[in-house]
Subunit: 396 residues, 4 copies
Amino acid sequence: MRTINVGLIGAGFMGKAHSLAYAAMPMFFWPAPAVPHRKIICDVTEEAAAEGAQRYGFDESTADWKRVVEHPDVEVVDIATPNHMHAEIARAAAAAGKHIICEKPLARTAEEARTMYEAVRDAGVVHMVAFNYRRTPAVALAKRYIDEGAIGELISFRGTYLQDWSADPESPLSWRFQREIAGSGAVGDIGTHVIDLARYLVGEISGVNAMLKTWVPERPLSAGGADQLGTGRSAGDAPRGPVDVDDEMITMLRFSNGAIGSLEATRNGHGRNNFLTFELHGTEGSIVFNYERRDELQVCFASDGADRKGFRTVYTGAPHPYGEALWPIPALGIGYGETKIIECHDLFQAIVGQEAVSPDFGDGYQIARISDAILESSATESWVSVPPLETTPGRG
Amino acid sequence: MRTINVGLIGAGFMGKAHSLAYAAMPMFFWPAPAVPHRKIICDVTEEAAAEGAQRYGFDESTADWKRVVEHPDVEVVDIATPNHMHAEIARAAAAAGKHIICEKPLARTAEEARTMYEAVRDAGVVHMVAFNYRRTPAVALAKRYIDEGAIGELISFRGTYLQDWSADPESPLSWRFQREIAGSGAVGDIGTHVIDLARYLVGEISGVNAMLKTWVPERPLSAGGADQLGTGRSAGDAPRGPVDVDDEMITMLRFSNGAIGSLEATRNGHGRNNFLTFELHGTEGSIVFNYERRDELQVCFASDGADRKGFRTVYTGAPHPYGEALWPIPALGIGYGETKIIECHDLFQAIVGQEAVSPDFGDGYQIARISDAILESSATESWVSVPPLETTPGRG
Amino acid sequence: MRTINVGLIGAGFMGKAHSLAYAAMPMFFWPAPAVPHRKIICDVTEEAAAEGAQRYGFDESTADWKRVVEHPDVEVVDIATPNHMHAEIARAAAAAGKHIICEKPLARTAEEARTMYEAVRDAGVVHMVAFNYRRTPAVALAKRYIDEGAIGELISFRGTYLQDWSADPESPLSWRFQREIAGSGAVGDIGTHVIDLARYLVGEISGVNAMLKTWVPERPLSAGGADQLGTGRSAGDAPRGPVDVDDEMITMLRFSNGAIGSLEATRNGHGRNNFLTFELHGTEGSIVFNYERRDELQVCFASDGADRKGFRTVYTGAPHPYGEALWPIPALGIGYGETKIIECHDLFQAIVGQEAVSPDFGDGYQIARISDAILESSATESWVSVPPLETTPGRG
Amino acid sequence: MRTINVGLIGAGFMGKAHSLAYAAMPMFFWPAPAVPHRKIICDVTEEAAAEGAQRYGFDESTADWKRVVEHPDVEVVDIATPNHMHAEIARAAAAAGKHIICEKPLARTAEEARTMYEAVRDAGVVHMVAFNYRRTPAVALAKRYIDEGAIGELISFRGTYLQDWSADPESPLSWRFQREIAGSGAVGDIGTHVIDLARYLVGEISGVNAMLKTWVPERPLSAGGADQLGTGRSAGDAPRGPVDVDDEMITMLRFSNGAIGSLEATRNGHGRNNFLTFELHGTEGSIVFNYERRDELQVCFASDGADRKGFRTVYTGAPHPYGEALWPIPALGIGYGETKIIECHDLFQAIVGQEAVSPDFGDGYQIARISDAILESSATESWVSVPPLETTPGRG
């Protein structure tokens, strides 16, 4: 079994999640497509990077991301930095012939994402964007039902991603509130996850009509500058800085296949934690999902007898996607880690098999165009069309 | 205790619900503001009306609604007909000096509703539109929390009304699918209920931006013509007629106070029965309601300690609105009837106390304007403003 | 259509619920088996009775229950008094040839219940005990699934009835806390409801093994003595009296058919309101019910495909028991009243059709024997057998 | 930071879960008490062990568990075998001076467990039984609330552990159905998890009164003999062997502090997957937990205002037990792995700090006594007392 070396850039929350995936993937998927080896990790200082290496099990550490990209032993570059660094690193990694997994959103803007997409396409490397939620087994089960035609032709999608960690106006001005670093607010941070699910499950989005709101216009400056995790919650009498991104987004959606939909994303909804949900109506049934109860998928089949029709709560397990690899009994419990372990598996499968994997930078680019369209729509108070991606991405 | 005679026009589903309310209201609210007496009932034929009288406990029956309106003993005219008859009856009843309760939506169009509103205002009678869901105790409790400031300043509203009774393309072309009779489809039939809740809880709606869809463009003609209940489910090889109203509506909302929102209404969502829900975010908390579990209100207070914060599921009972009048223990069970019994109480209270009651024809008119704006918005694919009602309705 | 006169004894919570049923039954069930007429009502004082007549729509009133029993126009005597009066009234009513509906539990003890059972059997009248919860449509649907064999052979039953209205030690010493009046505590008051469901759904109970606890040994004496509703919540510095009944009961159950089970009933479970639940396991499926969400029945069929198996949440409506009579769309909302309206229908059907109805006094007697066995089991700390009722009850 | 070598015996489901914990623990808990190093793994054949080493990241492998116990570099022996091997291995490991973590149940019988308990006590090593569910953050939060007195004095506990993987009579006769290997059925396999929770949250259990049932008396012999995971689901026309353990257990519980309770465990409840639940009533509140929705704890405080009382659904995160170590936002998702990662942390903390850890072999022994009492109670159809453990375990 082949061992593949990974270089990870960013030792925050996402660095932790990805490191877990590298360590655990072969424990779950066996035989594994390849064994990930944690070669080198990069963080903002040498000290932080060295600590990250010890904590997350990497051989080497550095404060210079270029060393990761140029490392001769590294086959896969994992970009887990704040958004503003994605593009430069990805382009350099592609130029160095590395396969790339990049955290979401792919970039701050569609233009930036386009450069990344073109770079990986031209370099012929494997590329993936870490929209991990579509790899929740229950979401993959929804996809299976849809592909089987079990709920008929899709007509309506309603998605939400509601959180409350920024509802407190005293939570600090992390990088996630700064357009220069993040690109946008709820749109890019969490809305893009739902856009990914919508495209995965329903099909291409052809138009949006959106409203954005910034409910907390300024926030205390964090003590130490940009907060890697973006969830620092303490504040003080620190001076304040402006929030120049959206706190909340509502948009209507049009799909190319005629379905319609809506999407709401907010980080100011008290009591909602990671309330990533969707409801799908088809001509022959419906599907409902709530990530907060991610072991479950609700599905209603119109073909059930009139006196037995209702949403079934299916707990995912062995008979469902990825089930053989995970835990032997449903509801033993899928956590965040499992979504990343599956993501890691699919990436390595693609590398070893020299296959495409989805969502890739083409998807990430298209999602960035949809995000930009949402911002434009809110500004112009009108529908904005999103043309389809001209060419499908491939290996060169 | 005063007895007040009622004349009911329409012996279908709504006639049943209202008759129950007249019989039961004093059993629940005691001392009652007045005792409703079921004087005369009208339905499409003499036979149907006579049967309605026996079934629903009315003294007299007729197939001519004018007899009800002109009946010297009748103080309250109750309009429970299909939508296209509301205006003419209401204007006649107002002219006859009768108090009026009219089923929702008030009329097929804003213009039609305006004539009704002006008629009752000029006549100085008590008038009410039967948007009964705001009288669910849990909804009234949400209003109480909001009025107390318990969830702070409202910023976001998300409402749905999802049903599935028209998902079957073989369900017949009842009057609810015909613009000439119904005015609109999901917009007027169920969307207006949510609009009523939004205005009740959040405040005036100042603009909409909507999409409408008709998923089933033609349906079998029902055997006996218009179906009073609109829920006839059987069909056959009958010839088909066109559906010229919407099956599904999605709209974004702007409120005068700066809050934003969205609303989806469909009758084609398999597995959803009477899924009337809302989620409200305020700066100090959130409220969530689902009528399918109507004994419960979910509320989250930001002021709860960090380690104890979460949605509380409050079962409504004695300490909550209308609680003393209903059942002695929470979750003994609020049904559809109770919402109508409360509505009846509030109407009679207004009549006896010579007070205004809400929602009245002014509200019904304004909701019709919002409905019209939704239709216009869908047609023009743009935001449509809704100016506030010029004058508040009163008793002359 | 025949009119049948009713005499109601007890104008408290249950009097209200039954009055509603008499008024509303034909509105729901049409054609009705007969039209109930509210002839005479009895309460503890003439004033209370007169007020009850006005409030609940009875022609006459009295403070002497014998007047009801002996009233020549009364065909049905409805016993809605505290438990200690059931037996004497029922025997007198039977002797007078009246049909009888009696609130649950049938009596304070099995011995008392036996005299009632024998009286009605000998008199040949129709008799019913008001265990209304089995008439919740979702419960009747569970029965239908079981009878169809849809969940196979039943192996396990787990029931709960959890409330919290007596958790507050300052809630007053109503009659429900006094053995002389109530017979027992949670056992008779709420436990018997679950026993009725267990016998209805699973079959005869052959043995019990129980624990009882009285958590609050004394309570403030209520101001006005016995509290008809038993839910008076205010108290003061009043002197206290002893609670000589159980607050909580846990029992194991053996069924004649080999199934096993458990049952917990408490009135001291904070946060539980009317948490009447059961979970049934069969060899081919499972059924779960929670009255707090009574529009829903959860059912799992083992025969569903491995990748689609899960509990279905079925909202009861037209295709389900009593559905045609109730509301046209599922989740419009079944309340407490509907269970009583259905109960009333089935009683009148039995009277008109000269049929037996279930649960009858034989069931009530057998449930009283099971209750007595529970008390004995707790005292002796051992299993107590319950022999089957010797003869099935009938009309003479 | 110290590195501590682990020897793992058993490469099945539990071997996988523990290996994940060793790899991931320092990623979550940082600084970690020590870094676990996966030194040697043992499985039934050399091939299986070698594959386990590669898959789970161990340096060495063996088919002889004595090599693990005697390995000079191994500090911690991890026993993840079927139950019948626990005692011999544990005694040998204790004799070799190794710290021990042993999967649950500790042994097949109390007598066997006693020998293990005495061995580790005499050896002065750290010892732990892997009842991992008490380390679910929501369960630990329940414990915190209880310890804070937030729900008052505990009066009632109701636990369930319902699964359905043995409901199919064609599922093979794995070791979990054989008394010689497993000791008991649902009692030891899953019931003990709830007993651990009951003792952890409420206190010592002083008596039980139980019923056991074996619903499927014989099963197909598995192809390859004992099935390590015990969840093999395929079968064929293989010959059948007898099931000599229980499929289902119901027991009543008495606690030393006066609380009462019940417990049901089954592996034959269709639709239940890993339905480990408890409901706790205290004099000042209630707590409800369902592992299938393990991110959530429901708690009701009696002190909440009458109009705001209800179960709060608290999603565990940073402010809750272990929260700082896990994921930065509640409902990102706790899975099965996280419970094992926390367990690993607490074990290593105890080793490094030379502290006791709970649950230890004393707890495991006491739980085995309770299990034996349950079996005896079922056989004798009577209450069986369980005396408290004479001496608390310690480090010598």
